[in-house]
């Protein structure tokens, strides 16, 4: 019998199990328990929130304030402190409430978490997992809707992980916490309530392994986090048009499972990358460029990128809906690379 959980609950279970297994796992963040300063006077306060999405709810009761640390609004302070804790033998899991706020602790990740091992000759590891929340579609406007995957992926020394299913969420989070390197773990706010099978016992999914979420022959669609689901919907629609799509979820953006991705592209000959982030210097361009370099001779049509626009995420619902890639845009992209592939082939046949 399958056990169904939401991503939110899968993550909560992963955190709980990681904390049960290892006393050195501690959580830090703003209101990740909630009610700090009211515990004595008003016991219901404790665990008031569990973060704005409730992911860390209930952990305070089990582990106490020493291990579920509600911090002041000072990301440089507590992300930086997490680095020190990691070096000193713990496995801190700080939370940046929304990825939009990365600017307030960016230096600690860019120059310290990512580089301490390398610069100092490999004598130290920084086993920390920075949890953060990504994504548009929540009517949360320009400063609470970004994805920014590529900013972290560009930085050597960081690992970047972003699950799209409850099963992956649990397995990847446990793997991230056990990993010896700093991992940015990105949770999409519009996926928290997505349900799926999750085994109760702890398990890990190796970082750097992609998941083929749907097998197909005519085109490879890479979905970035929430876009995996949109890509799957598009694939269903395309099937009705007689087009067989392979949908891949990289799950881990750094390291990236280039083998799985390239193998698929070489077989299908067509690539569409769907990424809700902004288009420039993005994961979409990263994976497109991978194909253009390493699967060039197998590509039979232009690589298509379906992305958010080069604009902040607007609040207004109809505008935001235009911002986020949707099924019709993916269907168009797939059809256009397939059509142009044929055209291209005809052009070659006609000696143009």
């Amino acid at each position: 019998m399958t056990r169904e959980l939401t991503i939110k609950d899968a993550l909560n279970e992963a955190l709980r199990q990681a904390m049960e297994a290892d006393d050195d796992v501690v959580l830090l963040g703003e209101d990740i328990a909630g009610g700090a300063g009211r515990d004595e006077a008003y016991p219901e306060a404790a665990d008031a929130w569990g973060g704005p999405f409730g992911v860390t709810q209930g952990l305070l009761g089990q582990f106490g304030r020493d291990r579920v640390m509600d911090t002041p609004i000072a990301e440089t302070g507590f992300v930086g402190a997490s680095i020190g804790m990691a070096i000193a033998g713990m496995r801190p899991v700080p939370e940046i409430m929304y990825v939009d706020f990365i600017g307030t602790s960016f230096d600690q990740l860019l120059n310290h978490a990512a580089k301490l091992r390398y610069l100092y000759g490999g004598k130290v590891s920084v086993p920390m997992t920075v949890r953060t929340v990504t994504g548009a579609g929540f009517r949360a406007a320009g400063e609470h809707s970004q994805t920014l995957y590529s900013l972290y992926t560009h930085i050597p020394g960081l690992k970047v992980v972003a699950p799209a299913t409850p099963y992956d969420a649990k397995g990847l989070l446990l793997a991230a916490i056990q990993d010896s390197d700093p991992v940015i773990f990105m949770e999409h706010k519009r996926l928290y309530m997505t349900t799926g099978h999750v085994p109760e016992e702890p398990y890990t999914i190796p970082l750097g392994t992609a998941s083929i979420v749907r097998a197909g022959d005519d085109v490879t669609i890479i979905g970035v986090q929430k876009m995996v689901h949109t890509a799957l919907e598009a694939a269903t629609e395309l099937e009705q048009q007689g087009i067989s799509c392979e949908v891949i979820d990289p799950r881990s953006y750094s390291p990236l499972d280039t083998d799985t991705i390239l193998t698929s592209i070489r077989r299908t000959g067509h690539l569409v990358v769907v990424d809700e982030s902004h288009p420039r210097c993005s994961l979409a361009t990263d994976i497109s460029a991978l194909a253009a370099e390493h699967a060039f001779h197998d590509l039979r049509g232009p690589v298509r990128m379906v992305t958010g626009t080069h604009s902040p995420v607007p609040f207004s619902p109809p505008l935001e809906d235009l911002y986020v890639p949707d099924v019709p845009r993916i269907v168009d992209a797939v059809r256009s690379t397939l059509d142009q592939g044929r055209k291209g082939a005809e052009a070659v046949a006609h000696g143009r």
Binding site: G34, A36, R38, Y42, I73, S311, P314, P318
Partner: protein
């Protein structure tokens, strides 16, 4: 607090508009008529009203995600506010910003920053620019008690002090940063204590009393305008609602809410103006009722207002398309 009748009615109008607006936003959010986050300003009306009515039209303001009160006190038309909450073309930002960013740059409101403490250095810079250009404009930057822990607070205070920026840092100390109580997070005990190392003049005021706020603001604004020096005002207040609509607020002791509601800024105002006979209950009720109607009309108008054209998704990213 000797104020003329029009001034008093103006204060009351703004406070009641804010309160009615926030109540309506709250019920509409609960009824799922509004999308996105709504940060309720109820309980803090005296601060926005007391300070902003002391500013000149050409002064600068930065606000936060909790900006409705600041915008209404600045006389942003209610329809522009409701339009923004609903993401319509009539919104003060044309619908692009939504509730968290519903401020009017045309009225010198630089932003409703979604990033805690994000507006502080920007306000310091705007204040400095005015001075450098020979203008006596000042800037006010609003923020919460939780914001003082951000590096930006410290760097902005330093910048403002060193370069003589006529900026007033206004902390609305409403006892909570989200769910975190101020007695837990505020090690310094008070926000004014944190101004000391910067040599920034700091005052604490009862943020539930619009007259006290107004007096303090008057002094600090005049001081900043004429000396070019920064100042800090800590206004003690209370957030009646949650961090945002939907917050269950289980972390708030119920007696605390009751205690603060007994000092409600609207009640306090009513008492302070009716007891000495400056205004009658009738005067007040009339304005309050007008505010209620204005708010209702504004929400009704917004619901009928047009959605933005798809083409605007890509406008305003840059000033010039080069």
């Amino acid at each position: 607090m000797i104020e003329d009748r029009d001034t008093l009615l103006g204060l009351w109008q703004r406070m009641t508009r804010i309160r009615r607006f926030e109540e309506r936003a709250s019920t509409d959010k609960e009824a799922d008529l509004l999308e996105g986050y709504i940060h309720n300003y109820s309980g803090q009306e005296a601060i926005a009203t007391g300070i902003i009515t002391q500013l000149r039209a050409d002064d600068w303001i930065t606000s936060t995600y909790r900006n409705h009160g600041h915008s209404i006190a600045r006389d942003v038309p209610l329809e522009a506010m409701t339009g923004e909450l609903l993401g319509r073309t009539t919104g003060v930002c044309g619908g692009k910003g939504g509730s968290m960013h519903a401020v009017d740059q045309d009225l010198g409101m630089i932003g409703g920053m979604g990033i805690v403490a994000g507006g502080m250095p920007i306000a310091a810079g705007a204040a400095l620019a005015a001075r450098r250009r020979g203008q006596d404009r000042v800037a006010v930057t609003f923020f919460g008690d939780g914001a003082v822990h951000q590096g930006a607070f410290h760097e902005s205070m330093t910048f403002a002090a060193l370069f003589n920026c006529p900026v007033i840092f206004v902390c609305e100390n409403n006892l909570y940063a989200e769910t975190t109580a101020v007695d837990y997070h505020l090690i310094a005990g008070s926000v004014i204590a944190m101004a000391e190392p910067y040599g920034v003049h700091a005052t604490q005021v009862d943020g539930m009393d619009v007259f006290a706020v107004r007096d303090a603001a008057e002094q600090l604004i005049a001081r900043a305008r004429y000396t070019g020096r920064p100042a800090l005002l800590e206004a003690m207040t209370y957030r009646y609602g949650g961090q945002y609509e939907g917050d269950t607020q289980t972390y708030k002791p119920p007696q605390e809410v009751a205690q603060w509601r007994a000092r409600d800024p609207l009640l306090t105002f009513r008492r302070r103006v009716t007891e000495p006979g400056l205004l009658t209950h009738g005067d007040l009720d009339e304005v309050a009722e007008r505010s209620r109607v204005e708010v209702a009309d504004a929400f009704a108008a917004a619901a009928l207002a047009p959605w933005p054209d798809p083409s605007v998704l890509l406008t305003d990213v840059y000033t010039e398309i080069s």
